[in-house]
Symmetry: C2
Subunit: 199 residues, 2 copies
DNA sequence: GTAGTTCCGTATCAACCGATACATAAGTAG
DNA sequence: CTACTTATGTATCGGTTGATACGGAACTAC
């Protein structure tokens, strides 16, 4: 049975895609409702709030969309089927490739999407921070697993190595926004991964 | 001869210090004139604009203040009197220490002070970006010098190694804001600097 | 004293912020 | 047809943004 009521006149998914692009480029707070409404197909405020609830809820939905598309480059950190080294290296390389891809805004929405926020944006800041924290923990699990399976020596400083990869990973967003290209980032990953084989 | 006219009733330097703290914590755009006026001694709008010109000019002055105080941790990147390795390592360690110091806001004003900006903040974004670019170039000069003096082999990938240190450096700001402590960051620097001795 | 200079407090500006009210249009259900 | 449901367009809400106008206060110069 078809849904009752007047049908929606704009493409909700297309509007969400457009909102992702805008939030990705500008961040949460500087992106205004007027900009969103315009890029989302010139919809009216009523349509906006009926379809998405609020700016904050839209952002949360956008983060989910990002995580299920471009943002999946970090999913491999949670993969225990491949080698720990491969998980971390591939995460870094995929992130570098994705974040420098000119077909969408530069950098990472999770890192740079809400770094400057006033008091109204606290929930959004915490949302992104919790995702970063999970990635950090996933890196730690991989390093720990590498030690457990003998791929890294028992003397390995797990916290130190984890923090190194984690800090580098979040740094990619600023680097990409500052104009670092994929080739240079890939070579920097060659360098940082050399640590793994040199001890 | 003393200056003519009614004397200023607030401490301009103290106001500037307070503005630095607020911008550092919240970033450029989310920090409002009302917040600034209040923390700067409860001054009036007239006093604010007479003394600092505009919000943007105040921020530029705040950046200068930061660069001449806490922000000096990166100055050592421009020092050609010490060894390249020492210049980079000390920059990283000083940055990690400074950015996790609880006596002031976490992270780095140059990296995180204006990452989310609308069209009005473009000049500010470019100002910070240009500073980051200079740091990146300074790292490159140090790596190049290291190769020149034989501290790194001729086969060194200068671009790759530079990007690695530069990306890690900017990553410290997000890491610190996410709660990384100094000890862990220091150990991560142990790890990343080990590259220098392992080839 | 008076003139000139600089700063201060209050009141206010136009523009924009996120969010709603209200009436109406377009569909389904019976 | 009427009743119900859902989306739409316009007009507007109260609040905040960065920035000014204007008159008066506090100082120096002479």
């Amino acid at each position: 049975m078809a849904r009752t009521g007047r049908p929606r006149e704009f493409d909700r998914q297309a509007a969400l895609d457009a909102a992702l692009t805008l939030f990705w480029k500008q961040g949460y707070e500087p992106t205004s409702l007027n900009q969103l409404k315009e890029i989302m197909g010139g919809i009216s405020p009523t349509s906006f709030y009926a379809a998405f609830g609020s700016k904050e809820k839209l952002f949360e939905e956008v983060v989910e969309l990002y995580r299920s598309t471009e943002g999946r480059v970090t999913d491999i950190l949670f993969d225990d089927e491949i080698s720990p080294r491969s998980a971390i290296e591939r995460c870094l390389r995929q992130s570098a490739k994705m974040q420098t891809d000119p077909s969408h805004p530069l950098g990472c929405l999770i890192v740079s999407g809400a770094s400057n926020c006033g008091s109204t944006g606290n929930r959004v800041v915490e949302l992104l921070k919790s995702i970063r924290r999970k990635n950090h923990e996933a890196i730690k699990s991989q390093v720990r697993r590498a030690v457990a399976i003998g791929d890294l020596p028992n003397s390995t400083d797990i916290e130190g190595l984890t923090e190194m990869f984690s800090t580098f990973l979040v740094g990619i967003s600023t680097a990409a926004r500052d104009g670092a290209n994929r080739a240079n980032l890939d070579r920097s990953i060659d360098q940082i991964m050399a640590l793994w084989g040199k001890r």
